[in-house]
């Protein structure tokens, strides 16, 4: 148990260091290159996270990623229509749950 506590402390410290490191390194002034990255990275990373969430889909085997595809299209369509992430996330999640619990 003592060892577990040490490992948890290690994970906590390394996680905190990872999050603080860029803020500490660039605390005085932000170089132009870093503020450029601050501007263009968010959209790129959001795209990366979408792919990351869908990485376990198996397009070649049942259910061929169809429930995910339907739910993703639903979220995007409702977002375009209503411009409200709460409604789009809720509708997409409910559709996905119905699809994988009852249809597929």
């Amino acid at each position: 148990m003592m060892h577990s506590a040490v490992l948890i402390a290690t994970m906590s410290i390394v996680t905190i260091l990872t999050r603080f490191l860029p803020f500490v390194v660039f605390r005085k002034e932000t170089p132009g290159y870093i503020s450029y990255l601050g501007r263009v990275l968010p959209p790129a990373i959001i795209a990366m996270l979408v792919v990351y969430c869908l990485k376990d889909i198996t397009p070649a085997a049942y259910p061929f990623g169809i429930p995910e595809l339907i739910a993703v299209v639903c979220v995007a369509a409702v977002q375009v229509w209503k411009r409200n992430s709460l409604i789009s996330i809720l509708s997409g999640t409910v559709i996905y749950m119905v699809l994988i619990q009852m249809v597929f």
Binding site: I8, S88, Y96
Partner: protein
């Protein structure tokens, strides 16, 4: 103004609530099954607040990994946080006393809610960002404790509810697409990540993808400046 800030921050955090409570519950159940009680679970969720790393962490503590292995694994799994922090340096610049906590609590989901840099009209931007982070953290801790105490006794079938996290990112993606004219960064992210997924496989594509995205965006900046 503060009441409005609290209300707006809570509203912003609602999409994360379901996902965090469910995933947190999953983490609590996993910890319980591994023989760790509610205090261990709550401590990890309070002091780490890193979803995927906590799941990996259960394996590390039950397997009795070494401190060095644990440190390296944590850094590899969390390397993406470097990129989140880099893109929030300017946005969190004036956050004053809120800043350390906001950096500590910068998860994937909090990042996706705050990374576009906008805040609602008539709120204190720094308090708003602080509260969004705090609400998300509280859902995560609450979910972990629920999972640890109640185990698998849940009143309705929750299979698939974890899709709310995917939906959160898809909604952010769509909104981002609608509000900006320059689609080069988002397409760079999409294409580089898909490419790395194909080349490196689903277990280890994330770090190569981040490096490739940074490289491509850096080259694009040179080109942009050359044109100016």
């Amino acid at each position: 103004m503060n009441a409005r800030t609290i209300r707006k921050a809570f509203y912003k955090s609602i999409p994360v609530m379901a996902g965090y409570i469910v995933l947190g519950t999953g983490f609590g159940i996993l910890m319980r099954n591994a023989g760790y009680g509610v205090l261990w679970t709550a401590a990890m969720s309070l002091f780490m607040f890193a979803g995927s790393m906590q799941f990996v962490g259960v394996g590390l503590i039950t397997g009795g990994a070494s401190v060095l292995t644990t440190a390296i694994t944590t850094f590899m799994v969390n390397a993406r946080h470097l990129f989140y922090s880099i893109s929030m340096i300017e946005k969190y610049k004036d956050a004053g006393p809120y800043k350390p906590y906001m950096i500590f609590a910068l998860t994937d989901e909090t990042y996706s809610l705050l990374c576009d840099g906008t805040t609602p009209e008539g709120v204190d931007p720094d308090l708003y960002r602080f509260l969004v982070s705090l609400f998300n953290h509280s859902y995560w801790v609450a979910g972990s404790i629920i999972g640890s105490l109640l185990g698998a006794v849940l009143p309705f079938p929750t299979t698939g509810i974890e899709f709310s996290m995917t939906a959160l990112f898809v909604a952010a993606f769509t909104e981002q697409w609608l509000t900006t004219k320059d689609h080069v960064p988002v397409l760079t992210g999409l294409i580089c990540t898909l490419l790395c997924l194909i080349v490196f496989g689903r277990e280890r594509f994330l770090i190569p993808a981040m490096l490739l995205i940074t490289l491509v965006l850096t080259v694009l900046r040179r080109r942009e400046e050359g044109r100016l």
